[in-house]
Subunit: 158 residues, 2 copies
DNA sequence: CACAAATTACTTGTGCACAATCTAATTGGT
DNA sequence: ACCAATTAGATTGTGCACAAGTAATTTGTG
């Protein structure tokens, strides 16, 4: 029972989360490589495929990333010819990110990715029970992230 | 029902995981700062507090980090006076990482951390049900990471 | 209108992650 | 004993993350 030390690595949610997240990103890497994408760039495209011509700020809100991360990342996507960066004509501060035809076309190639990944994760796409488990885990993580962000935002004032 | 696109950001386990992991790391940062630690350095100390004088390789196995990440990180920990790096006398290739008295002493200051974090995550340390949920989530993530690593390790051969 | 405050993105600097490569030490087979 | 293969760790280079600070633009207020 000396094992129940809260400072034990295996007791910690943080490490389980950190480790699983990196493991999943590593799984994505070789599948994204043929598309010329890294995992964060893939996330940006997911956002833009849902809604095009977003401001840097809006992409950042969606992914919880600041401009310090996004600016260079978006420049690389632009250099790859997948997006275009255009200053807003109405508000000169805003840079809107537009998908190019190539960027839009890449979506077709990305379609099979979620299923390939599901396979790697060991979730069975044909099993309703397995899919419910996956959804449950996803929702639990989303809720956790929301609680953490809310708490962090409040704390400094309190 | 057009919402059920698998490429929808909110449908993806990967983003939920990636986002929650970064949110938790961000939560740790201000709590670790008074101890002079970053989150990855804290993880290394967790490992060493369990078992001292490990080789770089062993720490790497525990945290799923390679020497490219660990070597500079351990040098910084050494510069902070928290660990010492000693070449093995039997096998000159091995570098064993030893905690200094300062490094060992830091453990006392870290004791309250898991509880402060638990508070931020919204889990109630006094509720048995809440604690069971946390353990369940942790175990699910650990199992997921294991499945991903195993799958990735096999794939190239298959 | 003037002008302080807020907003948007960019820049700079640090510290991970990780692939790829390298060097040195050790091991195993012959 | 010899040498190819293996192993441990360090190095190099790229790409995130994120804090902190800057510059340009817009908004709000007297």
């Amino acid at each position: 029972m000396a094992q129940r030390d809260p400072l034990q690595l295996d007791e910690q949610l943080c490490f389980a989360l950190y480790n699983a997240s990196r493991a999943l990103t590593r799984t994505y890497a070789p599948l994204l490589e043929p598309l010329g994408l890294t995992y964060p760039r893939y996330l940006v495209l997911l956002v833009l495929w849902e809604r095009d011509a977003l401001a840097v700020r809006q992409i950042g809100e969606r992914l919880a990333l600041d401009s310090g991360t996004l600016t260079p990342l978006l420049k690389r996507l632009a250099q790859q010819g997948l997006v275009e960066r255009r200053r807003g004509s109405d508000d000169e501060r805003i840079v809107r990110i537009h998908l190019t035809p190539d960027g839009r076309a890449l979506r077709a190639k990305a379609r099979k990715l979620p299923f390939e990944i599901a396979c790697h994760t060991g979730y069975d796409v044909t099993s309703e029970r397995s899919m419910r488990e996956l959804v449950r885990l996803r929702e639990e993580l989303t809720a956790l992230a929301r609680r953490l962000s809310a708490h962090d935002a409040d704390e400094p004032a309190a």
